[in-house]
Amino acid sequence: MDIFPALISVLTDPVLLGWVLLAAVVGMVVGAIPGLTASAAIAMLLPLTFYMEPLPALAFLYVIGKSGRYGGSIAAILFNTPGTAASAATQIDGYPLARQGKASKAMKVATISSIIGDFTGEILLIVGVAWIAALALKLGPPELFAVYFAAFIVIGSVIGKSVTRGLASAAFGILVAMIGLDPISSTERFTFGSFDLTNGIGLVPLMIGIFVLGEVFTQIEERGNAPLMADSGDDAARNGLTWAEYKPCLPHVVRSSFIGAFIGMLPGLGSAIAAFVAYGEGKRRASNPDAWGRGALEGVAAPEAANNAVSGPSMAPLLTLGIPGSTIGAILIGVFLIHGIQIGPTLFLTSRDLIYALFACGLIGIVMYGVIGYFGAAFVGRFIIRLPTHVLYPIIFLTSFVVAYTSRGNLFDVYVMVAAGFAGWAMRKLDFNPAAFVISFVLAGGAEEAFRQALLLSDNGLMIFVTRPVALLFLLIGAAALFMRVRSLNRQARDNALGSA
């Protein structure tokens, strides 16, 4: 019940509400710009939040993540280009609706479904997170390492097209995190005699490079491909949304919200997978499956509910175990660290009020982006179509340099950002997985600490991980996830080969 006092305290703080409102607008606009993601916006704005109080800083970035997921649907429906990977499933039915002159109707369905999904996920997080944290407090180093191990495997193998390249991305993330001084023995690792490298690789320049500069490199290939906007429609009869029209969407929205919330809790899977799983499940259960893909309102509602339901639960592993469930979670770690807040199971003992106030900001942010989106999504679309991308991306390019410098006042970080940016672009081109790389980079320190503490506790070396049942369970979960993913990809490859034969 901590959420009610938190809600009152947030609602009576106009400055904090201002930050939440700004975040709702920024996230929606950035999410709606094809090529830009909420992760990129958050990475770029992260150093600016170092100058803010902890709650406004966290709330600002958290709500950008939420409204950014929703904003992707605007581009998917109006431009036939998903603003984010998560809204690619929305495009399947959203754009055909726009072509029929029902863009505003589709965006209203996307908005309502996003709000319901996001609220479901946030409420599940609020109800369940303290319980998970209490359980997490009982985990010792062997169990914690096993959770990390499972997270590495799931993050590396489940996202992306290639299991080997996804896992290699995770391994690269671990190796890059090892650069610098060993935190226990102060031994130099991978420094090659460079003083700059003894401080390790900074999280902020790495993320700005991967998510922002890497995207600028990618956008060079899109020069001249300006998105075409479908008519958002002024016809009230075609673009108004009635209860009778939305009612068939509700079962899909409820089911998809729970699908999204469940997938959100699993580290690394993210909104895109939730949206496609929900779309597939919705189509399978639909009374009108033939209409899906040709402009069914349910085909917009299901993925939108799922991809927004991911947002809240994806914070659960971050807040309770210190394991980011998403790239946005990985970035938020930077905010917690810079403000001296130790994330993990003890967070609910040391900063309980802050966390519930953050959840309250999340709930208020959902209402704000919902209201703005319901009445203004078409306006946002028209604003974005007028943005000159040949000016926008050079500005983002220049901004990434000064922001990377700002994080620690160090030009070496800017070189790191440039290297990470090019690496991020190359990883996308070669089917590696930048998200797995960054999340593994963040996880590696905690995983190594848990591993070495476990070995100190052990009389039988590595056997401690198989003699403790909970640790063994998580190791098996990781192995099973890898096995099932490889099997599923092999089956798809076989089907593709048979299809083309």
């Binding site: 290639s162 896992l167 391994a171 030009l411």
Partner: protein, 156 residues
């Protein structure tokens, strides 16, 4: 182990193996702890071995066509070169001059050709970034090793 076609498995596999071997050799150079245990060496070594194993798995895949579009490579190389030169220029002549030079080049690479736009970027970008980050946020600006306009304009 892949879905659909992915670029050049042999090249990627060989690169992973070579990087993995290099990282393994470097990891073996990390000193043991006081009790003679691997300690700080364990994780780097595990990551390196994983790369070698994954590289070997990658080699077993069938080759497929590259997805790279070579038409864009000159622009990407130009942007990368600009990025590296821009950071070096910041360290050499400070933030204002380097940004005044980099801004029109970045816009030009992205296709802006109007002299007015390029000229405006030369003046406005350094001024705007300096104002926001170094004046409003109070970050100490990177000063040039050889020359810095801030020395002439009255300093920071």
């Amino acid at each position: 182990m892949t879905l659909g076609s992915s670029p050049a498995p042999r090249v990627v596999g060989m690169a992973l193996i070579l990087i993995g071997i290099g990282a393994m050799a470097t990891s073996m150079g990390i000193p043991l702890d006081q009790q003679g245990r691997w300690g700080a060496r364990f994780f780097p070594l595990a990551g390196s071995i994983t790369l070698v194993v994954l590289g070997a798995a990658e080699l077993r895949k069938t080759a497929s066509a590259s997805q790279m579009d070579p038409r864009h490579l000159p622009a990407i190389a130009a942007l990368l070169a600009l990025a590296v030169v821009y950071v070096w220029l910041i360290s050499a002549v400070g933030y204002l001059i380097s940004t005044a030079l980099a801004a029109p080049v970045a816009l030009w690479i992205f296709g802006l050709r109007t002299p007015l736009g390029l000229g405006a970027a030369t003046l406005l970008c350094p001024a705007a970034y300096h104002l926001v980050f170094f004046k409003l946020l109070g970050v100490f600006p990177p000063l040039g090793r050889y020359f810095d306009l801030l020395d002439v304009l009255g300093g920071y």
